[in-house]
Amino acid sequence: MLIVSGLYKTFNAGTVNQKEALKNLSLHVEKGDFVTVIGGNGAGKSTLLNCIAGVYPPDQGCIIIDGTNVTRLPEHKRAPVMGRVFQDPMMGTASDMGIEENLALAYRRGQRRGLKWGITSRERELYRTLLKTLDLGLEDRLSTKVGLLSGGQRQALTLLMAVLKKPKLLLLDEHTAALDPKTAEKVLVLTDHLVKEYDLTTLMVTHNMRDAIRHGNRLIMMHDGRIILDIKGEEKKKLTVEALINRFGRASGEDFAFDRALLS
């Protein structure tokens, strides 16, 4: 489904702030895989997701989604095949617009937009049914401005918008990092549910080892712009935080104390 090969990305090349975010990164994701991506700050997790989404063009390498080479496509042209949820709950929605208007924008992803009404009454019924499954009471507040919702409600809505068109790829960039633990848990449960229901190929970046282990069927760990661990299948199911930390230490060959605090 997703083939990333030989990806390089350097920020601020030639300045004192030069940062090699991705170094010859390759990744092959099968259809239906739910991959959790873990790593410390600056490991390149978000850069990888942003390169796949087309936010920045990579310096080298190529990205193929379902047989189509998208490496040089701008962000909005890739959007039809992917759903995205961001770390910042403000990022995924238009705050001055209503819940239904936001859903309607997502519902037309990949379609030509013309002078037809931006939202129809038939869609409204669909949105109401879908919002009901979130169990947040949003189904009765269709015209409420999204800016008035809490961070958790916004992320749940963004998730729904991301999966609404059954994308080939779901990209979650630390989408629970800005939420309190209880809300984060709820959003993660919802994520699992939606991924299963829509049978989505998913990449989920997270800071949290436990979440990375508990969710998905495959775990990759990034360090310094590379993938240093790739654990799948039975091995992934048996994985514990301790084991993961030990393997990280061996794989990266670096002192672990600092990153350990960050990851757990």
């Binding site: 989404a53 701008p74 962000e75 909005h76 042209k77 959007a79 039809p80 995205r84 961001f86 403000m90 990022m91 995924g92 929605t93 238009a94 705050s95 001055d96 617009m97 208007e101 936001n102 309607a104 924008l105 997502a106 037309r108 992803r109 990949g110 937009r113 013309g114 002078l115 037809k116 009404w117 931006g118 939202i119 918008m161």
Partner: protein, 303 residues
């Protein structure tokens, strides 16, 4: 006094068209677009020169619209294709338009009088004047018709798929791109629409005052912003239709205020200073409010 008021109301309605244009960029796209200073003059210039060359007054307004749209397109391309900051892009087009407008008119001031007998030319107001209305009344009727039509069209347009995409762009361009919309296109569309309206406004004003002048756009962005803000403060901003109507009311209120201040004896030369201070104060209002709230809180804590 009645004469002064009807003059203010008619002028306000003609400027309301421009205010709606400013609202599209300033509030919907979240861009302070200075192009309008040039495109309002451009609308006046195009209307004046084409009418002097025998064009029908309605057609001349249409040509003004096209000119304004081209100006908006220029600014839009500077912002999106060349990544020049919006404020600077607007200034660049505005400055360029100064020369272009002089070229269009061939001079810095054009009067809409017939050369041979110095009688006034036919304008879009003439049919209503021939019904027995005076100049201001005719302008009020035309202004109301134009504003009502535009409010209806824009209310529809911003409810369509494209309109929704433009509204979302000013809100959160990242989200809009993630939904597969090219934000370059939506920004350009908004600017084209806005400056087209501003140019129509310029054309209507030129036909009403029966001249076009190269200086008439100076400070117009501030007048537009003042009208937008007055409209929001006095008439509310709940619901899109209400907002659109409040823009027209804001533009009229602004003109009435100006007429009253002038009547009370303020020198006309101080007008722009007065407007600038009003807008600055209105924009600073949230800061004052916050300051007052913290002041109250600390006072309460001190008790």
């Amino acid at each position: 006094m009645v004469q002064i008021l009807s003059g203010a109301v008619s002028l306000g309605l003609l400027w309301a068209v421009m205010t709606i244009g400013v609202y599209i960029t300033y509030r919907i796209l979240n861009i302070a677009d200075l192009t309008v200073e040039g495109s309002i003059t451009m609308g006046a210039s195009i209307a004046a020169i084409t009418m002097l060359n025998g064009t029908d007054p309605y057609v001349s307004l249409f040509l003004a619209l096209l000119g304004g749209m081209a100006a908006g397109l220029a600014t839009g391309l500077l912002i999106t294709r060349f990544k020049i900051p919006p404020l600077l892009s607007g200034i660049l087009t505005m400055i360029a338009l100064y020369s272009i407008n002089l070229r269009i008119m061939g001079t810095s001031n054009l009067s809409l009088l017939k050369k041979k007998d110095f009688s006034e030319m036919n304008t879009v107001y003439t049919p209503f004047e021939s019904l027995g209305l005076d100049r201001n009344e005719a302008a009020i009727v035309v202004g109301l018709l134009v504003v009502a039509t535009l409010v209806a069209i824009l209310y529809w347009f911003f409810g369509t798929e494209i309109g929704c995409a433009i509204r979302a762009t000013g809100n959160n361009p990242n989200m809009v791109r993630a939904q597969g919309i090219n934000t370059d296109t939506t920004v350009i569309l908004g600017l084209v629409l806005s400056n087209g309206l501003v140019a129509i406004s310029g054309g209507l004003i030129a036909q009403s005052q029966r001249f076009a002048d190269i200086q008439m756009g100076t400070g117009s962005i501030v007048i537009g912003l003042a009208s937008v803000i007055i409209g929001e403060v006095l008439f509310g901003k709940n619901g899109f239709l209400r907002r659109l109507i409040s823009l027209a009311l804001g533009a009229v209120t602004y003109r009435v205020i100006i007429a009253l201040v002038l009547k009370m004896g303020m020198p006309a030369n101080d007008l722009k200073l007065f407007t600038a201070i009003t807008v600055a104060a209105a924009l600073a209002l949230p800061v004052f409010k916050e300051y007052l709230i913290t002041l109250k809180k600390s006072a309460r804590a001190g008790e």
